[in-house]
Amino acid sequence: MDSSGNNKILEVNNLKTYFYTDGGIVKAVDGVSFDLKVMETLGIVGETGSGKSVTALSILRLIPQPPGKIVEGEIIFDGKNILDMDKKELQDFRGNKISMIFQDPMTSLNPVFTIGNQLMEAILAHKKITKKECREESYRLLELVGIPDIKRRFESYPHEFSGGMRQRVMIAMAIANSPSILIADEPTTALDVTIQAQILELMDELKEKTKSSIIIITHDLGVVAKYADRVMVMYAGRPVEFSQVDNIFYNPLHPYTIGLMKSIARLDHGKNEKLKPIEGTPPSLIDLPEGCVFRVRCEYAEDECKSQYPPLSEIEPGHFVSCFRAKEFLSGSLVRNK
């Protein structure tokens, strides 16, 4: 997708992940393509059910099957398609090359094992070292993520930790094998606002230290603005806009992104300016409309939008939009409604 191809660490092409339910086929992810560069932070934003988490889980092949299935596409990491890996390769790969932090630290740690046990397990899954060395390594990791009173905490159980501390432990587990990519699936959604900032700062810091790339999935546009280098906006299982973070905020070219920007409170806007929600609701993923999936909520929809889905195309260098009218927004011939 991007022309400066040699520093790409991950490339996802036309990924489709469907869930086969009694009610029909849920097209949770329906043709997602993006790439990730070395030491880049990529933000994936979208509302609940837009396919962000499923995209992330698909990268690690963690989709519960059945009912889920990756039906098409390729995920290239280091020249190898993750979707072609066998069980053993996948095991060596998960947590080692790419690791993941989940949304709810309350439930992501196993309640019946100590923090130390779970952390050491993550290390020993990929490194052949003695228990003693592993313990030392665990202490180092816990210190790195800012857990106080390490030796005692090592023997503690998850329920003895606060939410923020548990998320720190999750991060320690995720970076234990210095992975090239860290996927954070709404890592701060379940946390208090003050803790959110600490966790995000910690991740950013560790990224610099470990020279890794981050994919951060969130519906918090503030998080994206501060930490992401590039952003992919998703809607109904597809990417609608993908670009540098500045473009997304200051020059959005997809009506959905434009709507998103109008719906958030901004300091640079007037005090009395009203927030404007996007009218309507997202479509059912079982029964997607013909043509552009956003057209029923779109203020700028034309006849063309009814018949076919607009492909994600490069409107300006590095700025990909899936809208027939994106060029008009860019040239200024179509003015964004206030």
Binding site: L57, R94, S108, N110, A122, Y157, M173
Partner: protein, 314 residues
């Protein structure tokens, strides 16, 4: 933890008082004269009166009860009307058989029950899961004595593979049928509960975390899912152990197993009150102690319910 155990053991006292009181009243209202039972027909009224005085059953029930309880707390369960032997020695003679049978049954229950449950959960809706569901449903419905007799007919009578009944020389062949019969219902329950708790455990977020770490499926299921899923199953097995240990009346009777269950059954038929009460008290104590052991095991399995000293003070 120590305080908790002491408290639980002290709780035994009211339980034992309650059980003995109920049994005493029940046996008291049975219109059977133990003296007549012992001396049989043709005894003179004087002889009967003498024996009643000797047994102490001419006294009012509260006096009898008081005397019994006094003896009980010194460890004496009284004397059998029928055998003229101490109940302690009768129970001591038969208990080893019951315990051996119970252990055999529990081993079957644990191995087959848990294993079947895990397979069912991991291979949900597969052929093996269907098979397990159907057979456990059948087993739960079938009464133990019926299953026992059917096994006797098939494996003992028709095929001649296994001895029909009894303890014989104590070799494993004699254990197979009674242990299977005794374990049948509980094994089915364990398998079904294991399946549901395992499925629940497998749907938790920490399972995804475990896979994301790069652990093998074996380790994710055998370590992360299993320990969580075992918690409710351990209760079930523990309770079973308690009730089976106390003597399996039906199974022991069908298979003519010389255990304490059959002894109590015979004692009921013979109105041998001291044996019935004594046997039941021991059963109750074993049951309560097993429960206590289960609770202790629980604390090991689930750190969230480990008992703190401060909880006792509340």
């Amino acid at each position: 933890m120590f305080y908790y155990i002491v408290r639980r053991i002290l709780q035994l006292i009211p339980v034992v008082i309650g059980v003995t009181l109920i049994l005493f009243l029940l046996l008291y209202i049975i219109p059977e004269d133990p003296a007549r039972l012992i001396l049989q027909k043709g005894a003179t009224p004087e002889a009967l009166a003498n024996l009643r005085a000797k047994l102490g059953i001419d006294k009012p029930i509260y006096v009898q009860y008081w005397r019994y309880m006094k003896n009980l707390f010194s460890g004496d369960l009284g004397t059998s009307y029928r055998y003229q032997r101490s109940v302690n020695s009768i129970l001591a003679e038969h208990y080893p058989y019951s315990i051996k049978l119970a252990l055999a049954a529990i081993i079957i229950e644990i191995i087959i029950g848990i294993f079947t449950g895990i397979i069912s959960a991991v291979k949900k809706y597969s052929f093996w899961d269907m098979l397990a569901t159907i057979s456990t449903t059948l087993l739960v419905c079938v009464p133990v004595y019926w299953l026992g007799m059917v096994m006797q007919v098939i494996f003992g009578l028709k095929l001649g593979l296994l001895p029909m009944s009894g303890y014989g020389d104590g070799s494993i062949r004699y254990y197979i049928m009674p242990a299977l019969a005794l374990a049948s219902v509980s094994t089915a329950y364990v398998a079904r509960m294991m399946r549901s708790t395992m499925l629940e455990s497998l749907s938790n977020d920490y399972i995804v975390t475990a896979y994301a770490k790069g652990l093998s499926q074996f380790k994710v299921i055998g370590k992360h899912a299993l320990k969580n899923a075992l918690i409710p199953v351990v209760t079930l097995i523990g309770l079973d152990l308690g009730s089976i240990m106390g003597g399996a009346i039906l199974t022991e009777t069908v298979f003519n197993w010389p255990g304490v269950g059959r002894t109590v059954y015979l004692a009921i038929l013979q109105r041998d009150a001291p044996v019935v009460i004594g046997g039941t008290i021991v059963l109750v104590m074993i049951f309560v102690i097993m429960n206590l052991l289960v609770d202790i095991l629980y604390a090991w399995l689930d750190p969230r319910i480990r008992f703190e000293k401060k909880e006792i003070n509340v």
